[in-house]
Amino acid sequence: MKLLTLNFLTCAIKTCKTNSASFPLHPRDAELEIVEADVNLPFLKNILPRLMWDELRGICTELGLPELPATPPTPADLIQPSSSTPETTDAAPIAEADEEPSQTAKDLHRVLLETCIQEGKLVCGACEHEYAVKEGVANFLLPGHLV
């Protein structure tokens, strides 16, 4: 599972949903793997406002990944400023398809869409329940006494 998934996951136990400590889930004993992928700029731009930035930063720290900047990037930060004649204001605006991802976008892409958790556990910060990750698939089925 790619790290971005953690942006959407909380504890599956209903009583935990209202507890702010249940988000994000904390990876523990995680085996990470990098799966290279092309940078998807339209997707990064679309998902940017939906990122829980502080929580994602926390996860990166816990996993020992390079630290994310303190404040989330703006959509403009994701686009490489056009290197060729940026001064010409009379030229037509660059078409969306021609936009190049900036280093910020590439770094974000690396963390969210290339870093995968293969094995390990995800732990709820409120109830301490552990969800196992096997072969990159996390198991959120609750045992009989918790449903």
Binding site: M1, K2, L4, T5, N7, F8, L9, T10, C11, A12, I13, K14, K17, T18, F23, L25, V35, A37, D38, N40, P42, F43, K45, N46, I47, R50, L113, C116, E130, Y131, K134, E135, G136, V137, A138, N139, F140, L141, L142, P143, G144, H145, V147
Partner: protein, 482 residues
């Protein structure tokens, strides 16, 4: 606006208009239907330009191609008149272009020599370019629409090709027979692609399937550019250790492998094992503002409880304290399997809608399949939610039952009247056995017999009411709305 002729496939008729409209909405172009019949593969639409037409058709699964309409008529005499009138001013543009000229018949046809005569009858267009069957500069086509077993066509169209659809290629590429890993209930590839189109999949969007199985819907969504993830209550289907539906297939076959097969692995976020009624996804509390959704769309084919069991976490009977203790003691053991119980199908559908309301962004779509017996009054049982607007209903009919693709749009916060969220507690079927909980399943296994007589009664009542009072108008209104 110029008129265009869409050559549709004569399949899944009730999906065709819905798909074209959805693709127009995604592309942000205005589409008006001038002429459309369920019984005909020829549809005339208004579009502002060739590029708008191209945008729509290059993703369409149920169209074959789109043509600029250069003429129409019920006989060749009127067709030629119409061609001269509508397109005469365009002929000089194509005077020296290499061209292809073909004749196509629907439910009828012509011999090669008759076709040549037809083509020759257009000589007044004075095309001087080279005829070329492969990759010509411009392609023209005469369309003949026949009645069944008729000798002469009832109507004729003439058009210039603007764009061909990816229908045949997509159907071939995503064919389940060639897919790496499938299961017994994998959805037909054509229908998954169609569902993705109707759900407004587009590059950059995020889509989720809560009942992914072997990933048919997420694959279709990723094919059209969305980033996808999914979940299933059965982890074996995702990890792929459960094997395949194919006889004798061994080795590692899993959902990731499917994405790899189509070269769209980078659009696959991953999957997890979960149950929709105890979802691990973030559910913002309903008291918070409604704009906190994070999914652009949800596509799913929920388990009907027939071939695939409809189960959620929990036990059929409330657990005794000692049993609870046993679960608590053992749940960390490697082979532990959480208990599951059958669930009411109508409750599940309502749960899906409630989940969609909590997680979709404004104007996000949810497309889900729902089976029904053919004799139920469908208007009554289509699930609804005050925050969702039903945008389309498409029907795939089988013999005694049919399944419908229901598509809803998440209303904007400003559209939802205050206080509607405190919905009344609904009563669902009670019981512990699957058949008690699932109306559709019960009827299915009884061969829909108990409803044969009810159906006759229903038809009789309808006829009576129609005779006594003019309710036809309202019925038509309802049809127009859907």
């Amino acid at each position: 606006m110029p008129e265009y002729l869409v050559r549709l496939a004569q399949a899944h008729e009730s999906f065709r208009k819905v798909e074209l409209q959805a693709l127009a909405d995604v592309a942000g172009v205005t589409l008006q239907f001038v002429k459309y019949e369920e019984d005909s593969p020829y549809c005339i639409v208004n579009l502002c330009s060739d590029s708008a037409a191209r945008k729509i058709i290059t993703r369409s699964i149920l169209a074959q191609g789109i043509y600029e309409l250069w003429g129409q008529g019920s006989t060749y005499r009127t067709l030629h008149q119409s061609v001269r009138l509508l397109s005469g001013f365009q002929w000089p543009h194509y005077e020296n272009a290499s061209f292809r000229f073909t004749v196509e018949g629907y439910r009828g046809g012509r011999s090669a020599s008759e076709q040549r005569d037809i083509i020759d009858s257009f000589s007044y267009m004075a095309l001087k370019g080279q005829p070329r069957m492969r990759l010509p500069d411009v392609a023209f086509r005469v369309f003949e629409d026949y009645d069944l077993d008729a000798k002469e066509p009832k109507y004729l169209y003439f058009g210039r090709l603007v764009a061909e659809s990816p229908r045949n290629e997509a159907k071939r590429t995503f064919d389940l027979k060639k897919r790496h890993y499938i299961s017994t209930t994998s959805m037909d590839a054509e229908l998954t692609l169609l569902t993705a189109n109707i759900a407004h999949v587009a590059p950059g969007k995020l889509f989720y399937d809560p009942f992914m199985g072997t990933g048919g819907f997420p694959i279709a969504c990723a094919h059209f550019g969305a980033v996808v993830f999914g979940s299933d209550i059965d982890g074996r289907t995702i990890r792929g250790t459960g094997g395949s539906a194919r006889r004798g297939q061994t080795g590692k076959y899993d959902v990731v492998g499917n994405f790899r097969q189509y070269g769209i692995e980078s659009s696959y976020l991953g999957a997890f094992v979960s149950d929709l009624t105890n979802t691990p996804l973030r559910i913002p509390p309903p008291t918070m503002d409604l704009t906190t959704g994070y999914l652009d769309g949800i596509v799913c084919d929920p388990p009907y409880g027939i071939r695939e069991g409809l189960k959620v976490l929990g036990s059929r009977q409330a657990l005794l304290e000692t049993e609870k203790q046993t679960h608590q003691d053992q749940y960390k053991a490697p082979g532990y399997i959480p208990p599951k119980r059958p669930y009411s199908f109508t409750a599940l559908l309502d749960d899906i809608l409630a989940f969609a309301v909590a997680t979709l962004v404004e104007d996000g779509r949810i497309s889900m399949w729902m089976p029904t017996a053919n004799d139920e009054d469908i208007e009554l049982i289509i699930p609804s939610h005050p925050c969702l607007e039903l945008t389309s209903v498409c029907v795939q009919a089988f013999n005694k039952w049919s399944r419908r693709l229901l598509t809803y749009r998440r209303r904007r916060e400003s559209e939802v009247p205050e206080g509607t969220l405190e919905s009344a507690k609904k009563e669902y079927e009670k019981g512990t056995r699957a058949s008690e909980l699932n109306d559709f399943r019960r009827k299915y296994f009884q061969g829909f017999k108990e409803f044969e007589s009810m159906k006759k009664e229903f038809v009789r009542l309808k006829m009576n009411s129609r005779a006594t009072e003019e309710t036809v108008g309202t019925a038509e209104e309802r049809e127009a709305r859907t």
